[in-house]
């Protein structure tokens, strides 16, 4: 079995996780492109990786729950709750002990960072999609971002600031730069 056929079969399996239209249209386009490279080589692996990345991003961007206001509010509430929990956990004695151990502190930072980054990306995409119709929500998130940044820079210094704020904001900028879907 050639590398190209193996990759097409892997992409077929990936299609199970995608919405029908993206699995047919976007992934179908990438598979057609892949099939036009019968000789294989490094380009087919690059193409397959690009296909997974783009179809995954497009599936998230097209996800219907992101344009649902009720779920949107719930996402923002969860982020606020996560932030408060994180703030509280750092001030508690057990985690203060973890804070003195550089190794475990780094692990906690990474785990919480992952959670927070995912939450920020999700909320940012949701806010971006509904920017015009939920102006208050956008202002609220902007104010929260500023407060959160100030708090993080005090608690965790530059590392925390970069990990939990600058990186997710950079992702938001990338999403804002992408073509804006209409809200209809």
């Amino acid at each position: 079995m050639s590398a190209r056929l193996r990759l097409v079969s892997a992409l077929d399996r990936w299609a199970v996780f995608l919405p029908e239209r993206i699995a047919e249209e976007d992934l179908g386009g990438f598979i057609e492109l892949l099939n036009r490279n019968p000789r294989g080589g490094a380009r087919v692996y690059m193409l397959a990786a690009t296909a997974v990345l783009f179809t995954g991003c497009n599936a998230i961007r097209e996800a219907p729950f992101l344009v649902n206001q009720r779920v949107l509010r719930r996402i923002v509430m969860w982020i606020a709750a996560l932030n408060v929990l994180f703030a509280l956990s750092l001030s508690r004695e057990p985690l203060a002990h973890v804070g003195r151990d550089p190794g475990s502190m780094l692990m906690v930072q990474c785990l919480v960072g992952l959670l927070l980054s995912a939450a920020w990306i999700g909320s940012g995409m949701a806010v971006w999609r509904r920017w015009r119709s939920s102006h208050q929500l956008a202002v609220g998130v902007a104010v929260a971002t500023v407060l959160y940044t100030v708090w993080l820079s005090n608690v965790m210094g530059t590392f925390g600031l970069v990990t939990y704020t600058v990186y997710p904001l950079a992702v938001l900028v990338v999403f804002a730069w992408a073509p804006r879907p209409s809200s209809g």
């Binding site: 047919e24 249209e25 179908g28 598979i31 492109l33 690009t50 497009n58 073509p179 209409s182």
Partner: protein, 105 residues
């Protein structure tokens, strides 16, 4: 050289030639701009869906082909609004480049 046109506008112009699907539209745009404008495969489909939501294009499922591992292709065609928008874009761009008469250069 910079091509003074975005992906959505390029797709509308390419669809003036007739209905087509994503990959062929990418090639159409590339051919018509002599390779100067290369649309990204990952961003063309969201742009097409966005045009559809704006009711500038409509889509329909085509035939299943072996090239796409049996998936049906989705074809796009301009709506009346889309044709009007494409014509307006064309007029705007050609008007922009006729602003300065050649003799005054």
């Amino acid at each position: 050289m910079d091509v003074p046109i975005g992906a959505s506008a390029a797709l509308l112009q390419a669809l003036l030639e007739g209905p087509s699907y994503g990959l062929e539209l990418i090639e159409r745009v590339e051919r018509r701009t002599q390779g100067e404008l290369k649309l990204l495969h990952g961003s063309v489909y969201p742009a097409l869906r966005s045009l559809e939501r704006d009711r500038l294009v409509r889509s329909f499922r085509g035939e299943s082909v072996p090239e796409t591992a049996g998936r049906p292709r989705r074809y796009y065609e301009l709506t009346a609004n889309g044709k009007e928008a494409a014509d307006n874009q064309r007029k705007l761009v050609s008007g922009l480049f006729q602003l300065v008469p050649e003799t005054s250069r």
